[in-house]
């Protein structure tokens, strides 16, 4: 695998509707709270994506029915 820019997954909590697809696709990084809302294991509303999980993160972004997830790239 070539060297990639670091990607970060961001959650907009005002949009998230607890559909839960993100936690299914990225169980390593996301689990759901007792009300069905995603918790980033690392805490907060943004989490760095390990290189091996970039494609899963991209799938999570498209799978989220309300567009609450966003991926950014930085060096």
């Amino acid at each position: 695998m070539s060297t990639h820019d670091q990607r970060t997954l961001h959650l907009d909590p005002t949009l998230c509707d607890a559909h839960g697809f993100c936690a299914e696709l990225l169980p390593e990084l996301i689990h759901l709270d007792e009300w069905g809302y995603p918790i980033f294991t690392a805490g907060g509303l943004a989490t760095d994506i390990p290189h091996g999980l970039t494609s899963e993160a991209k799938r999570a972004v498209t799978a989220c029915p309300v567009g609450a997830l966003r991926l950014t790239k930085h060096a």
């Binding site: 907009d12 909590p13 005002t14 949009l15 998230c16 607890a18 709270d33 007792e34 009300w35 069905g36 809302y37 918790i39 805490g43 907060g44 509303l45």
Partner: protein, 440 residues
């Protein structure tokens, strides 16, 4: 060195002077003079004085005002276009959402022109072409303020009075910008208002007291402002002192005043007090012991375990049940959620239910552990800091009143006086499920 800067005292009556008319205002403070405007992507020259003053925002966060203004100007300069849609706008936050706070209402009632001077000074400094003064709907001073604004014919920037709904989160800065632009008073997640606020414009939101101080800095300069107070957060500051003190009310003191002196100004505590609420319902509880040796400045109060926030100091009567008080406020804060984010919308009501059980003696140590878990579940996960403030209020309260918590787990309660003391606005009839017409 007088410490009655914002609120001059009438020597005859010992009361705060009524300076509502322009004549009385100028008689007491002198004229504002011209404040030069921002130009060529740089703030107006008053920024030097504001930076030198060390002024920090009095709305809760104590953020350096000069830095926020510079960020607004930089954000406007970054825009490629010079369209009106990229011009800065100023919003004066006189909403005073904290139920135990009274300082902004005192300023509005006695020195409204000082706030309006501050708005003019801020608008010129960041290059704003329009400005808003936000007071919550139903504020008694609306007519008087409209009149006061109308009397200021020589103002360079037009000020419009706006009245967002009286909801706790409606005065969070992104919610205010949202209201001013779109008429919806819910917090907005993402860009901060200084980057993209009202209608996407760089928006400077400042607390009413911050602006009143600015009105004086524009007259006397930054060095004058910093002559009194704690070097890290200079000047005087307003404190709303309430609860079990002989003379509750709003007082003006230099920052860094020992809490003991501050209480003495209010006639001292009147009966046993074990804990104080600092900063309001988004603030923190502190034991009397820890607070009594502290000084009223952000870092010192923080070291004592509290938070100055919007300048609230409430002495809780040791004879009432602190857990009932905490449960009531938690229920109020849960009802004030804008209902946009799951952890806030569901987490706060769950917590409020748990706390009601704890107050009522129907809580086991397992339930208590669940409260702890839920407290951590609502922190850092909302679109705004409403759940975080509520969680801090609850967690510090459970720690400060730990002995009472143990008593309740055993089914007891040491309260000897029934009833409630912390103020709450009238209960809302229907809890809000989703951000809806309640926020319009």
């Amino acid at each position: 060195m007088s410490t009655h800067r914002l609120l001059p005292i009438d020597p005859q009556t010992g009361r705060v002077r009524d300076l509502r008319t322009p004549t009385a205002h100028i008689g007491a403070f002198g004229p504002l003079g011209t404040v030069r405007s921002a130009a060529h992507g740089k703030p107006g020259p008053l920024i030097e004085e504001i930076a030198a003053s060390g002024l920090r925002g009095r709305g809760g966060g104590w953020f350096p005002t000069a830095r926020k203004m510079e960020a607004v100007v930089a954000s406007a300069a970054d825009r490629r276009t010079r369209s009106p849609g990229s011009r800065p706008v100023v919003i004066a936050n006189a909403m005073e959402g904290e139920p135990a706070s009274g300082k902004d209402a005192v300023l509005l009632a006695h020195v409204p022109h000082l706030i309006l001077d501050g708005i003019q000074a801020a608008a010129a400094t960041v290059g704003a072409t329009d400005a808003y003064l936000a007071v919550h709907r139903g504020t008694p001073s609306v007519k008087m303020l409209e009149h006061a604004i109308g009397e200021r014919r020589s103002d360079a920037v037009r000020v419009e009075l706006i009245t967002p709904p009286a909801r706790y989160v409606a005065s969070e800065e992104s919610a205010l910008a949202h209201w001013a632009g779109d008429g919806v008073a819910t917090p907005v997640f993402g860009d901060r208002p200084f980057e993209r606020g009202m209608n996407g414009r760089p928006t400077l939101v400042q607390n009413a007291e911050t602006l009143a101080h600015l009105g004086l800095i524009a007259r006397h300069g930054g060095a004058w402002f910093a002559e009194v107070g704690d070097p890290e957060a200079p000047g005087t500051t307003l404190v709303s002192v309430g609860g079990r003190v002989r003379q509750p009310g709003v007082i003006e003191v230099p920052t860094g005043t020992p809490v003991a002196d501050l209480l003495a100004r209010c006639g001292d505590t009147d009966g046993p007090v074990e804990g104080f609420l600092t900063g309001g319902y988004g603030g923190a509880w502190v034991t009397s012991e820890a607070l009594s040796s502290a000084a009223w400045a952000p870092a010192q109060v923080r070291d004592a375990g509290g938070v100055i926030g919007a300048g609230i100091l409430w002495a809780l009567d040791a004879q009432v049940c602190p857990l009932h008080e905490i449960a009531r406020v938690a229920a109020y804060m849960a009802g004030e959620s804008a209902g946009q984010c799951g952890p806030c919308r569901f987490g706060l009501p769950s917590l409020a239910d748990d706390l009601e059980d704890l107050a009522g003696g129907a809580c086991t140590s397992d339930d208590l552990a669940r409260i702890g878990e839920r407290l951590s579940l609502v922190v850092n996960r909302g679109g705004c800091k409403h759940p975080d403030g509520t969680a801090r209020f609850v967690s510090t309260g459970l720690a400060v009143f730990e002995a009472e918590v143990s008593e309740h787990l055993r089914g007891g309660c040491t309260a000897t006086r029934p009833g409630h003391t912390l103020p709450l606005p009238k209960a809302r009839k229907t809890p809000v499920k989703r951000a809806g017409k309640d926020f319009k």
